[in-house]
């Protein structure tokens, strides 16, 4: 049992990594986060155990690079009148899930992370917990709380 060639790893998981980035930081900055995630994955790849859950590993790295984008934004001065995350978001298309993901991006960081890993990355709650280094119960709670808050705040 050895690691698959990195090209096959990318063929299998790149789309999921990109979608997680798009959900977490928005389409405008998704490509940058995605490229950083691929590079980080390539750097670390030879040290990975062959039996690892490659999909969860890929999405965890994508999540961390998306987090870097959020941190950089928080440091960036925001123009007077701009509304934080919203300033970079294109006009959401109500026909797509864009508006909903824009609402997810406005959630507190812990809930945003849990919802993007769970629903954009399609990870199981236990995998979300491992990616965020929290207990499975805490991950389930964040997912539930995030969904509840979305229900309150999201108006299509």
């Amino acid at each position: 049992m050895t690691l698959p060639p990195f090209q096959r790893f990318l063929d299998d998981h790149a789309d999921a990594m990109w979608r997680l980035c798009a959900a977490s930081v928005g389409r405008e900055e998704a490509d940058d986060a995605f490229q950083e995630a691929c590079l980080a994955a390539l750097r670390a790849y030879p040290r990975l155990r062959a039996r690892s859950n490659l999909r969860a590993w890929a999405l965890t790295i994508a999540h961390r690079k998306a987090l870097d984008v959020h941190r950089a934004r928080a440091r960036r001065p925001v123009a007077v009148g701009a509304l934080g995350d919203e300033h970079a978001a294109p006009e959401p298309d109500p026909e797509s899930d864009e508006a909903l993901w824009a609402a997810v991006r406005a959630l507190p960081p812990g809930q945003r992370a849990a919802l993007t890993l769970r629903y954009a990355g399609d990870l199981q709650p236990a995998e979300v917990a491992a990616a965020l280094r929290i207990t499975p119960e805490a991950a389930r709670r964040r997912i539930a709380d995030g969904l509840a808050r979305l229900r309150e705040e999201y108006r299509p």
């Binding site: 090209q7 590079l39 629903y119």
Partner: protein, 193 residues
């Protein structure tokens, strides 16, 4: 809320290979090349061309082997093999008699096999040698069988021209890609009609 959270639509852009290369992370770059003797998979390391494999069994098994034996950092990067593709095209068009490519014999097991392939690489276009002679050139004229094994395991056929090694007396012997390919290559070089 009746809407469901689905993954955003869309797919990933191509991975920025130039950034991987700039960081020295492109351990094994590969591409597929169509030739008159079938499709081959060419792979290079920073040291040179390490693999030119006939794809009869498909690319996946070859890539698995490269990942296990060289490095798991295996990426499809055709631009990194432009010179390999060009020189193969020229060779099969009859316009090139010698390859000018660095070769990495990292997939070759053992010093004798390595010396043997280095000796084989010196056989010029249109000429042939015998298993006995290349074994002698590698330092052990008695190791005819080992010479056959090493040539059969040649990771870079065509470029290291093991097709130019015949049995003493001129019988074809064996070939890593099957005898029909050996005949085709020797015919291209004017050795066989």
């Amino acid at each position: 809320m009746t809407a469901m959270l689905h993954p955003p639509r869309g797919s990933a852009p191509p991975f920025a290979l130039h950034r991987a290369a700039a960081e020295g992370l492109l351990d094994v770059a590969y591409c597929e090349v169509d030739t008159p003797v079938g499709r081959v998979l060419a792979a290079r390391t920073p040291r040179g061309l390490a693999c030119l494999a006939y794809e009869d069994g498909g690319a996946d098994a070859i890539l698995d082997s490269l990942a296990a034996r060289l490095s798991p950092r295996v990426l499809e990067a055709p631009a990194r093999l432009d010179d390999v593709r060009r020189q193969l095209d020229e060779y099969f068009a009859g316009a090139r008699h010698a390859f000018e490519l660095p070769v990495d014999l990292g997939l070759v097991r053992g010093p004798f096999a390595r010396r043997l392939l280095e000796a084989t690489a010196r056989i010029p276009f249109g000429a042939t040698s015998s298993y006995r002679d290349v074994a002698a050139a590698a330092g052990n004229p008695a190791a005819v069988r080992a010479a056959g094994n090493a040539l059969g395991a040649n990771p870079v056929p065509i470029v290291v021209p093991c097709h130019r090694v015949l049995r003493t007396g001129g019988a074809l012997g064996g070939y890593t890609g099957g005898l029909h390919r050996k005949e085709r290559l020797l015919a291209l070089e004017g050795v066989l009609l």
